[in-house]
């Protein structure tokens, strides 16, 4: 297990505009851009980390949150080691959609044991004063859905961003040490578009 390459794939999911790209930028380059483009498709960045003495390459996958890009992003859920479900605390709809994001992920990533899969929930934009989602609401949702860790972050002023990623890594490593956790071995399959997935944005 120690000789295994520690390439950890962490994927950011959540409605368009909640700040996924901003969080990734803050974490990797420590920068914030107030005028960011919507992401199209999927992009990723690598970051070398040392967590609890483990040398780890964290591969952070940023996805397009907008509904119309679904077909571009879903093929790349597969192989994720951790999923960061993101909403914006000033956008209640994005919070309400969390459940849909989780379902979409579990379906397309083809996770065999969804109960055991490490999700981390991020409530972004805590710097904003007009909140629509309270901390309690969010914590409760995490509690009910599988006892996910919850972090309130701000990509703008860097609050909790690094902490959240550290937690994600720790979760994955912990899981790997416990079980020979494996994600199914077959390759990506095309043309699997379930009708059931609900809309996230509109």
């Amino acid at each position: 297990m120690t000789t295994k390459t520690s390439l950890l794939k962490v994927i950011l999911l959540g409605d368009g505009g909640v700040g996924k790209s901003s969080i990734m930028n803050r974490y990797v380059t420590n920068k914030f851009d107030a005028h960011l483009f919507h992401t199209i498709g999927v992009e990723f960045l690598n970051k070398e980390l040392e967590v609890d003495g483990h040398q780890v390459t964290l591969q952070i996958w940023d996805t397009a949150g907008q509904e119309r890009f679904r077909s571009l992003r879903t093929p790349f859920y597969r192989g994720s080691d951790c999923c960061l479900l993101t909403f914006s605390v000033d956008d209640s709809q994005s919070f309400l959609n969390l459940g849909n994001w989780k379902k979409e992920f579990i379906y397309y990533a083809d996770v065999k044991e969804p109960e055991k899969f490490p999700f981390v929930v991020l409530g972004n934009k805590v710097d904003v004063t007009e909140r629509q989602v309270s901390t309690e609401e969010a914590q409760q949702w995490c509690q009910e859905n599988g006892n996910f860790p919850y972090y309130e972050t701000s990509a703008k002023d860097a609050t909790n961003v690094a902490v959240a990623f550290d937690e994600a890594v720790r979760r994955v490593l912990a899981l790997e040490e416990r079980t020979d956790h494996l994600i199914p071995t077959d390759t990506v399959k095309l043309h699997r578009k379930p009708r059931s997935a609900t809309s996230c944005c509109s």
């Binding site: 390459t5 390439l7 794939k9 498709g41 992009e43 690598n46 571009l72 093929p75 994600i183 077959d186």
Partner: protein
């Protein structure tokens, strides 16, 4: 036996500064890609620059199991694993990942819809290629950049698509209009050099029975290598979709039934071309291309090869495993790369102990088999060399690709014009360069990249000097072992002994690693070994060859080495011209990124001078090969000729190269004599200096005296010194006896010496007829030039000129004989007579003589026409007066044949009609004029001349003179115009009418006597009753008519106003004759 030469194909070696131990290595487009062991990171280094600087680093999405670079499109393709799933991915725009920090776009194939890359400039992009089966092997087509993926029982072909900038912009606009926060989208215009790539799945080949290990793709050729088999297929795009029936399946079952009793395992098998269908691997094709349904492919079998482990040779199953499958294209310099298909495609694959190189285009053929001296791990084929690695050495073998290509480029190879070493020539090892613990090899251009990982048990010695010595010693024993393994005992071969005693890191081997410390630091090393230019290697081989030449110029090795050198040069000539073009297309991304773009014009001229240098070297090499073949044995000696020709050396230079040393007993080789004879007998346009010509005479008097006559007759030899040659010829006559040809040649020498009496004496030694026969044998005694073809001008020799003066009859006879034996054409003969200044005399004699001799109808008609025209010329240019002042024909002598001679001896000249004698004046004209008149009349009276064709010519003659009239009358008579002729004759010369009528009005024309002549005469006598000539004619006519007609008919004819008494006697004769009958 494998030739091993200790050449130095490598110039220098650099050690790439890699931090982590490399796991996988690949290269292409001037870059080296290193994947750290077990890592998910690719590092790129620039191999074109000193020290191989780091270019960039980028992360992969999983653990890389296999990596390949495609020159076309400058992309990388990987097979990766992540959490036990296998993925196939293509990495494009990797050069833009300078920081390793930029975001990397990821998408599925076909979803070309980029965000950041289109908006904010260039972005590296990963294209995920979904597959239904696990990918095992991939290959990129060096021609198109297409991708072939080998899965467990299928091969999938993906076509590379380069996205059109415009269509991309359009899709971008659609994207923007629907974008929510479009206010932000002040889209920057995308970089024009952006490499937008995509792939389109075009064909799937189902091969249910195989387990591919490696695949290769080149042009339409698809190769797949299993553990012990190689199958090469050809895919052809076709418009009409053919149903591919799997005939091989049904056939195969029969096959098995046949063999069921014996349980024969298929042993070594080689099936070439269509026959490869019979291998037991059924292939079915599934077209998946979407484009207009056009992407239909048909499939054909090209090659199948199967090996079985040979246990008796001490091989284990594991050792009999194929590797290093490669399809290799070769363009020729006249091709516009890469728009056209490559001229040649080669297929290489290797067993641990032997490699096989096939040529696929224009008939599949095994070119070379490489017998390795020890177990080979991997092999890479390049234009010039086959690089193979064993655990402890990099070995370079020569290849025959250039020999194949040369023959495709130039149809004149393997003629007397051009030559090239044969494709089948044995290959050899040029170099065995020692390395420790080699693991992998790859090649990019002139850079050979090696990964070595030292065995842990090999201890590294800290001090350098003793290590060197130890190494050398180690090399020696190792190499000796290798030679023994291939059946050569170095101890018995002095050349090898000395070769082995030489230090391996020779003078040309420089180590320029920036840090000497690195090899000691860890157990592995990544080397970039730079090859020397083909020209440098060529020069080294030439140096070697000189050493061989000194010791044993006849040696096969010398010839072999020079031939190898020749192919080296050819290979680089094949490549030099187009090499500039593909760079621009292949490495466009590279080009735009690199700031040090030197001016293209400069590069162009540099390439040109390079080419000139190589061409110069090739000429030099051809000269040396020429030498080899000129001195060698009878076998292949004819090759001296094309090689010398290609060398551009003059004959004199070639002769100088072949001149034996005064001391040596060495004589002229058969190849040299072959060359020289060819030069003397075929190439008529180059004359030798007197010195050279005399040398040639010496050479032949020594080596082939029987050729002396032909040699002397060569137009190239006209400068020879006649006195010296005469001596040699006399000597020749003394030893071999008199021969007519020798005599003629000697006479020619006398002519050159201006010794006319001697000349005459010699010429009189043999009968003219014998001389004529010899002239047929050696026409060049009379004619120079024009023999090989009509493009060279034909001209008379000195002898010809002399004959024209002293023996014109002989000359004419000889020319006729030459013509009849197809040694000279009519026009050429004309030219000769023109040169001799005898157009109007000897030439006409020639034509007349030709008429006698020739049996070719076309020639006869041509000659008849010419002669008619010349006779008319003569008639018009001479006057019929005896005292003449003729400007045109200064005829010094009489024609060889008189009109009488011709009438008597030549069937085309007819006897003159009797009535002509009445018309021809006896003594009023000059003899010349008269001869011409008689000859022309005779031709008109003859059977062969078609009178109609000469009528236009006749118009030049006036009818005023009686002879002129006679010719016109002859013409109209011959054309059957009797009525008019009778009238005219009665007008001009009635005294000839009865002679005319007697001769011409016979048989069917008999009726003209009474239908035309009689009424004419009656009319004319009525008008001029005192004309005695007409009356006499009338009487004669009546006699004839009375003889021929019945009395009643005769009565009818008598004119109404006629005096009965006048006609009565004839009527009486008529009735009496009628009664008797």
């Amino acid at each position: 036996m494998v030739h091993v030469y200790n050449c130095h194909p490598f110039a220098s070696q650099q050690i790439v500064q890699v931090e982590q131990e490399p796991g996988l290595v690949c290269c292409g487009g001037g870059a080296l890609f290193v994947v750290a062991t077990g890592g998910c990171k690719v590092e790129a280094y620039n191999v074109e620059q000193e020290g191989c600087p780091f270019i960039c680093r980028f992360a992969t999405m999983g653990t890389v199991k296999s990596i390949q670079h495609s020159k076309m499109g400058d992309y990388l393709v990987t097979i990766e694993e992540k959490n036990s799933a296998t993925y196939l991915r293509a990495y494009t725009n990797w050069r833009h990942q300078a920081e390793g920090k930029a975001r990397v776009g990821v998408r599925l194939l076909g979803h070309l819809l980029r965000g950041a890359s289109v908006r904010g400039g260039v972005q590296m992009e990963i294209i995920e290629i979904p597959l239904s089966k696990r990918p095992v092997a991939v290959a990129c087509c060096p021609v198109t950049g297409d991708l072939l993926v080998g899965c467990e029982d299928t091969l999938v072909l993906f076509a590379l698509r380069r996205q059109n900038q415009q269509s991309l912009n359009q899709s971008q606009q659609i994207l923007q209009s629907t974008s929510q926060n479009s206010s932000q989208n002040q889209a920057q215009s995308p970089s024009p050099n952006q490499n937008f790539l995509d792939f389109e799945r075009s064909v799937i080949l189902h091969l249910p029975k195989i387990e591919p290990k490696q695949v290769a793709l080149c042009g339409g050729y698809v190769a797949v290598q299993m553990e012990l088999e190689v199958l090469v297929l050809k895919l052809d795009a076709s418009s009409d979709p053919k149903t591919q029936e799997e005939s091989s399946d049904t056939k195969k079952t029969d096959h098995i039934d046949d063999q069921a009793d014996f349980m024969v395992l298929p042993r070594h098998q080689e099936l070439l071309g269509d026959v490869a269908k019979d291998c037991d691997i059924p292939v079915s094709i599934e077209n998946t291309g979407l484009e207009d349904g056009k992407g239909q492919y048909t499939l054909s079998y090209v090659l199948f090869r199967r090996f079985t482990p040979d246990f008796f040779q001490g091989c284990s199953v594991e050792e009999t495993q194929l590797h290093s499958l490669q399809l290799y294209p070769l363009y020729t310099s006249n091709q516009s790369v890469p728009l056209e298909e490559p001229a040649c495609v080669f297929c290489f694959f290797s067993l641990p102990n032997a490699g096989y190189l096939y040529s696929l285009k224009g008939g599949v053929e095994l070119l070379s088999t490489y017998q390795y001296p020890e177990k080979v791990l991997k092999a890479v084929l390049t234009d010039h060399l086959l690089h193979v690695i064993t655990k402890s050495a990099l070995q370079c073998f020569t290849v025959r690709c250039a020999a194949v290509a040369a023959r495709i480029v130039d149809p004149y190879i393997d003629t007397t014009m051009k030559a090239c070493p044969p494709c089948s020539m044995e290959v050899c090892a040029l170099r065995i360069q020692l390395f420790i613990g080699l693991r992998s090899v790859c090649v990019d251009g002139s850079h050979v990249i090696l990964l070595s990982v030292a065995d842990t048990e090999t201890p590294e010695e800290p001090e350098r000097t003793p290590q060197r010595r130890r190494l050398k010693l180690k090399e020696h024993t190792l190499l000796t072992g290798i030679f023994l393994a291939v059946g050569i005992d170095p101890a018995t071969t002095p050349a090898l002994e000395s070769f082995l005693s030489r230090p391996f890191l020779g003078r040309k081997w420089t180590i320029s690693s920036p840090k000497e410390t690195s090899p000691a630091g860890h157990g592995w090393n990544l080397y970039v070994v730079d090859s020397v230019s083909p020209l440098t290697l060529y020069q080294e081989m030439v140096e070697y060859s000189e050493r061989y030449a000194e010791t044993n110029p006849q040696a096969q090795s010398l010839r072999h080495l020079l031939s190898e050198a020749h192919l080296f040069l050819r290979a680089s000539l094949l490549r030099t011209e187009p090499s500039e073009q593909p760079r621009n297309i292949e490495g466009e991304a590279a080009e735009t990124l690199q700031t040090d773009t030197d001016a293209p014009a400069e590069r162009q001229t540099a390439a040109q001078t390079d080419r000139q240098e190589v061409e110069e070297a090739l000429r030099h090499n051809c000269a040396q090969l020429g030498d080899c073949f000129s001195r060698g044995s009878q076998k292949d000696c004819h090759l001296a000729l094309p090689y010398y020709r290609m060398s551009g050396l003059s004959v004199t230079e070639v002769m100088a190269r072949n001149r034996p040393l005064p001391s040596s007993p060495h004589t002229y080789g058969p190849g040299f004599l072959f060359y020289l004879k060819h030069f003397l007998f075929e190439e008529t346009e180059q004359t030798l200096s007197q010195e050279a010509a005399d040398d040639v005479i010496d050479i032949f008097s020594q080596s082939e005296p029987s050729q002396l006559v032909s040699v002397c007759a060569s137009p190239s030899m006209i400068n020879l010194s006649p006195a010296k040659t005469l001596q040699i010829l006399i000597h020749q006559e003394d030893t071999c006896g008199v021969s007519v040809l020798l005599t003629i040649t000697m006479a020619t020498m006398m002519l050159c010496l201006d010794d006319l009496p001697q000349y005459t004496q010699l010429m009189e030694r043999h009968a003219e007829m014998l001389l004529v026969y010899r002239f047929i044998e050696e026409p060049r005694l009379l004619l120079h030039g024009g023999v090989g073809g009509r493009h060279t001008h034909i001209r008379p020799t000195r002898l010809t000129r002399q004959l024209a003066k002293s023996q014109p009859g002989l000359l004419v006879a000889a020319m006729v004989a030459l013509h009849e034996n197809s040694k000279v054409q009519l026009e050429q003969a004309d030219h000769i007579f023109k040169e001799l200044g005898c157009e109007n005399c000897l030439q006409v004699d020639f034509w007349e003589a030709m008429l006698m001799a020739s049996s070719q109808e076309a020639v006869i008609q041509e000659l008849l026409f010419r002669l008619v025209s010349i006779y008319i010329d003569r008639l018009t240019n001479t006057t019929s007066d005896t005292h003449l002042n003729e400007p045109h024909t200064p005829s010094r002598r009489r024609p060889l044949k008189s009109a009488d001679d011709l009438i008597n001896s030549c069937s085309h000249y007819g006897a003159l009609y009797p009535w002509l004698t009445v018309l021809n004046p006896a003594h009023t004209t000059s003899s010349q004029h008269q001869e011409a008149l008689y000859k022309l009349q005779s031709l008109l009276c003859g059977p062969s001349l078609s009178v109609g064709s000469v009528v236009p010519l006749m118009e030049r003659l006036s009818e005023e003179t009686l002879w002129g009239f006679s010719l016109h009358l002859l013409c109209s008579t011959r054309r059957g115009q009797y009525d008019r002729s009778i009238e005219k004759l009665l007008d001009r010369c009635p005294q000839a009418i009865i002679a005319y009528a007697n001769h011409q009005l016979q048989d069917t024309h008999m009726i003209l006597w009474w239908q035309k002549l009689l009424p004419e005469l009656c009319n004319r006598t009525r008008a001029a009753s005192d004309n005695s000539i007409l009356l006499a004619a009338l009487k004669e006519t009546l006699v004839v008519v009375a003889m021929e007609m019945s009395p009643t008919d005769f009565l009818e004819l008598i004119p109404d106003d006629g005096t009965a008494s006048y006609f009565l006697p004839y009527l009486l004769t008529c009735s009496q004759r009628h009664l008797m009958a």
